[in-house]
Assembly symmetry: C2
Homo-oligomer: 268 residues x 2
């Protein structure tokens, strides 16, 4: 089941999204009472998705991200082996989150801003000290995240909070797919397509089977330190192929079984 959050003439609401992902405007959004963390109770209101605005599917209390979780991305960014630079945690602030189709806004002091297409996890219940094998019991579903990163600030600051925490630098969506069992994490493609001057090129073309720290390990690792709350988002790391974006570009991150998260790029 797909849960999204929509802005309608009747206000903002969570909704169950149904229909053919390939024809998004013709999909149906069925408004629900409350949140995606329980069986949906429908309000009876339905919208054509093309007639409403799809928002980030969740407003997380925190976005916890795994850095350096794909060896080829470690090599391209740090010119080092993943053995020397193992996965590490960082946090993106809630104010960096935007939804599908919302602009990534580049401030003038960020001179090299890159996309990072990633599989994202939405937490479904408060949890601490989760064992790796129990990870599905705390997950509400999967979505897509673009861990937008100002590479120049990332290296200048040492800490990544600013480079990855700028307003609009965490596009999230388009919705949460709750049927976690339908995903084969041993073989889930993750792609990013950059449109520059009207030409679209696939820049990231990887697979979740390249993740160094696997899903269960990630959730065990994070929850050994931090309580996760419903709606919290985990970014599982970016594969290689990240590149700079400039105003006028558009960046689409694609994960089969979820869909595509596309965002235009603008000057702030």
């Amino acid at each position: 089941m797909r849960f999204g959050r929509i802005a309608t003439p009747d206000g903002m609401t969570f909704a169950v999204i149904e229909g053919d992902v390939a024809d998004r405007n013709e999909m149906t959004a069925k408004a629900i009472v409350g949140t995606p963390f329980t069986e949906p109770e429908y309000t009876g209101k339905e919208y054509r998705l093309g007639d409403v605005k799809l928002l980030a599917p969740m407003l997380p209390s925190k976005v916890v991200a795994i850095g350096r979780n794909y060896a080829d991305h470690v090599a391209e960014v740090f010119q080092k082996s993943a053995d020397d630079l193992p996965p590490t945690l960082f946090i993106k602030p809630p104010t960096s989150v935007v939804g599908p189709d919302a602009a990534i806004k580049i401030p003038d002091f960020a001179t090299r801003v890159e996309f990072e297409g990633e599989l994202a996890v939405v937490i479904g219940r408060p949890c601490k000290n989760v064992k790796a094998e129990d990870w599905k019991s705390v997950v509400a579903g999967f979505t897509i995240v673009n861990d937008v990163s100002s590479r120049d600030l990332q290296f200048a600051d040492g800490q990544w909070a600013r480079a990855k925490g700028i307003d609009t630098f965490c596009p999230l969506g388009p919705w949460i797919e709750t049927d976690v069992d339908a995903f084969e994490l041993d073989d889930l493609p993750i792609k990013a397509h950059l449109t520059h001057e009207g030409v679209t090129t696939t820049k990231q073309d990887s697979n979740s089977n390249q993740m160094i720290m696997k899903m269960g390990e990630i959730i065990e690792f994070i929850t050994a330190s931090m309580t996760l709350l419903p709606g919290d988002v985990i970014c599982t790391g970016s594969p290689a192929g990240t590149e700079a974006m400039v105003p006028g570009d558009s960046i689409a991150v694609e994960v089969p079984g979820i869909g595509t998260l596309e965002n235009p790029v603008e000057r702030a």
Copy 2:
């Protein structure tokens, strides 16, 4: 005016705290309607502070911290000059926040956990792109933070999110002092007193005049990237004197004009 948050037999509430800080149990907490961001509207209920539980004065949507903002602390932790390692931003998750007297709980994988006593700022209104000279217009008040840091994990991870983001690693309080004009940031003492095996020793004894990035610069720097929201907390950096704590210790951070934030240390 001092705003705190208290747990009472009648529920949790914000309150105006009055009386002599030196005799905290005898202070009075006057419950208010709503939040500390407007003129207080009193409910009429009053409590002796010794009869209620003082909580963290705010549940921030984010805690943004300035690292390496005191040259002597840069030297003691990194063995480098602050010219080589300028101030940098990091984020502590909301789940790390605890109130006065709540235990700092050290997990077994954190082998060297240090206190960092700091002046903290509570934001009073949504803001972005604040000019340094306008900083007071967005601030609700000052409080105290202990930026508890697992020094071993900080160096092992490179990124500080885990080392400084563990549950209970952000003691905050005891309350928010809103009379910002009463503080002389050119000469505001910041101290930390560690009690170990019954003996109390002053370990940090510095002054906000040692801050490399000053208050206005900090708020201009952060809000150039991130929107700050009411209740968000800024940690302004720790001076030298940080040291390891062990279960059984107690750590008290003192800022004149605010008071003292004391927390016991326990094994998680």
